[in-house]
Amino acid sequence: SQQGEEDPQALSIQEGENATMNCSYKTSINNLQWYRQNSGRGLVHLILIRSNEREKHSGRLRVTLDTSKKSSSLLITASRAADTASYFCATDAKNSGYSTLTFGKGTMLLVSP
């Protein structure tokens, strides 16, 4: 079953604007991760936030995590055309033994010059 679900499915903004993407999930997690995928390429890891963290920054990226609502958001500030990509959240469910990341279906971001 799908653990992480991104919202919106697609987002179109102008350069310089901020972009916000949301992720909701269903079970307890160890961590939540955000990835970017440029068209026709593999995914690139952006940021990992642990379940005991509420906010994390990396350059123009800001990630928040609300474990009570089982949701996370990714904010890209002052977006650029080069930020055009699909963005995925992935959850690391809290299980005993081995488990794997569960990826959402992604938000497609288009940043126009």
Binding site: Q2, L43, H45, L48, D92, S99, T100, K105
Partner: protein
């Protein structure tokens, strides 16, 4: 920098053929993964491996098998290719972190995955 290399960017095969997709990583990662990505369906896990000669089924293992004879190499095999296996295939690797170890039972945390550039496979 971690490098995950997939043997082909584009591949065209015929139905019924046995197809091998190869993936090599250079960071001594314990975990390796094979996903397929289809429009509207996102990433779906086919198989993963947490150690040499170990393999675990993912969400959609039917029609596929894997091989991990060496730590750095993880191969995906389509035993008899069919048109519904036309897709983008992504390989990834990661470290395995133990977050809790009590009474002989370990709990693991998934660390960031590093992806290859993908193989776009067409089955005709």
């Amino acid at each position: 920098d971690v490098k995950v290399t997939q043997s082909s960017r584009y591949l065209v095969k015929r139905t019924g053929e046995k197809v091998f997709l190869e993936c090599v990583q250079d960071m001594d990662h314990e975990n390796m993964f094979w996903y397929r990505q289809d429009p509207g369906l996102g990433l779906r896990l086919i198989y993963f491996s947490y150690d040499v000669k170990m393999k675990e089924k993912g969400d959609i293992p039917e029609g596929y098998s894997v091989s991990r004879e060496k730590k750095e190499r993880f191969s995906l095999i389509l035993e008899s290719a069919s048109t519904n296996q036309t897709s983008m295939y992504l390989c990834a690797s990661s470290f395995l972190a133990i977050v809790n170890s009590r009474g002989g039972a370990d709990t693991y945390s998934n660390q960031p995955q590093h992806f290859g550039d993908g193989t776009r496979l067409s089955i005709l």
